[in-house]
Symmetry: C2
Subunit: 402 residues, 2 copies
Amino acid sequence: MTFNYSDRMNGLDGSATREIFKLLSRPEIISFAGGLPANEYLPVKEVNEILDEILSGGFAAKSLQYGSTEGFPALREILTDYVKHVGINDAKVENTLVISGGQQGIDLTLKAFINKGDAVLVENPTYLAFLQIAKTYEAKVYGVKAESYGLNIEDLEAKIKAHKPKVLYCVPTFSNPTGKTYSAENRRKIAEITAKYGVMVLEDDPYGKLRFSGEPVPSLKSFDKAGNVIYITSFSKILSPGMRTGVAVGNKEVIRKLTICKQGTDLHTANLSQLIAQKYLEKGYLFPNIEKSLPLYRTRRDCMLAALDKYMPKEFTHTVPDGGLFIWGEFDADVVTKDILPEAIERDVAYIQGNEFYAVPQEGNRFIRLNFSNESPERIDKGVKALAELYKEKISQAKSKK
Amino acid sequence: MTFNYSDRMNGLDGSATREIFKLLSRPEIISFAGGLPANEYLPVKEVNEILDEILSGGFAAKSLQYGSTEGFPALREILTDYVKHVGINDAKVENTLVISGGQQGIDLTLKAFINKGDAVLVENPTYLAFLQIAKTYEAKVYGVKAESYGLNIEDLEAKIKAHKPKVLYCVPTFSNPTGKTYSAENRRKIAEITAKYGVMVLEDDPYGKLRFSGEPVPSLKSFDKAGNVIYITSFSKILSPGMRTGVAVGNKEVIRKLTICKQGTDLHTANLSQLIAQKYLEKGYLFPNIEKSLPLYRTRRDCMLAALDKYMPKEFTHTVPDGGLFIWGEFDADVVTKDILPEAIERDVAYIQGNEFYAVPQEGNRFIRLNFSNESPERIDKGVKALAELYKEKISQAKSKK
């Protein structure tokens, strides 16, 4: 029989990053494609210790039985403290919802706010999975012009007036894919202008704790006076992505709506994941372990920056992020990174083509996202060199055709 | 500011069962409301042993890093064997998707198939969370008349012709809320007639392994020749609900669509949950532990049946399930179980009102769902007695008003 899928499935392909995961099983592939934290800093020993305690102590039956949709009360309590690190000082337990990773925070927010055809705004370019999730809610997505210091406020206001969006999605700290950070002043203005027009802001902060240089900037949420900002962060990059655990912080009424949506999607986040996060925070393991991991990430970033400058053609420019996992590159030449990717993979290097990050995909033709967190310096150097050779060939071919 | 939620949030309240969970923290409440497996049979020792192995062995980093959306290959491989127990003999790995509990299987199926305004059919009455999830997809839900042996086939065909539904949802084994099981012949006919009209069937089987009496019946999926049946089952009732882990089995193309939907909701199911399920099956713990738990469930069912027959007013009738967790009761009297629930809770007994299980809520006014799995025989007796006294008072008040 032929299957009569919902309209939202039209043109909805698997996400490029998820497909790329299948390549990673070939060990010779040097992958700049994913967004994986370094295997070396996954805290196996600490998690082992915590699980021993959970399952030999009073938590045993509780950890296997059903839990409440909102999350374990003790974890939510700790999370109200945790978000003070990004300047959210007034969160109470009722303002928090434990989520099954940051991805779920996006899904629940769009479920609670978006009807088919509603407009949403994103930074241009933006996180590819957001664009995919927006398709499943049949939203119209418009990109806001970005500057080195954040969103272009004039363009933001113009797009709000033109499209009457319900939601603005952004990654203000170490943006995915650009690695850029919005200034405090830019965040304050975004909070003001969205409040003025009644636009919800979904502030996604998966990378903020991975800062190698520069000064921390308070969250956009910390400038929220109207209650229109939902802040989501996850433990994927700083504890374990396999746990699928994060938190959404927002207005009490909004969090209640997200909770109702979560009831219908997975009832609650896996208990062991929640308890691991809770105890990892309680025991004070998080910040020292992040601190220990930063030199490694910084080294890998620096190694990639050096290799890019050493090998890449002169037509190539790139961002220099203060943290996070990604460098964003642009070719000022007649190349389409998507079309070149299969050949790169043949030469054992993977990246994500720029198209994936744009509401209008062809705007990303000449861009690539490069992840530096999950390969050794030697392999980063080797991979960038191979990539550079390939692109030099392609650029010279493109020129000779003219 | 006022929040401009999506249309799907209109009238979408928290599910009754989830709200009732909050009452369970009062230990004096005797709860017949939830659907929790017995605490006594949560396999704490086995899970502890498995986690020790996972985190001290080669699985350590793998269990904390990102996984693939489809689930761990080794778990999916085992699951193709596991579903042979319900007569699904031809499932390959590509026909399986690891899901974050049965609830997610429902959510993903509706996401992949349902547009706003599309019709879905359910057994009348049906699982309350299905009705809630259907609201989030703005589906029109129609109840199919039920008989003691399953769905009324004439009514099913008439409703298919009248409403052109995309999906039929049912719980053919130990149905929630009635505890009833569809006959093999009824399943065969449902498979045939839905294939004829191109209707997808979502067969939900959370309770099938908890059989205390009678003979097993093959799954509806085992009668599927057209590929239109999606079978979902979870480990919540037979291993641990807190793990949030289950499986969807279906046509390869359909499973691919569900996988794309899952990418956007939680990326993948928590790794530790998946690995616990995998090793619990590999080690052969599942079936012996179920076997050990059955006498306890049977005793509790029998205890509740005896108490209902002993204490309840003559206007009360109920089902006698061969397994699962629920007894479904009906008052042939002028009572509305929803209105009486607050008084029951004042007397320290909780149940779920019938309304929650009907597409047209008022059809359930005189019904109650009683869960027997999670209270001791003494408390079941005490709770039913208190409930019976309350209902006798209410029925006599209703009569005296006439």
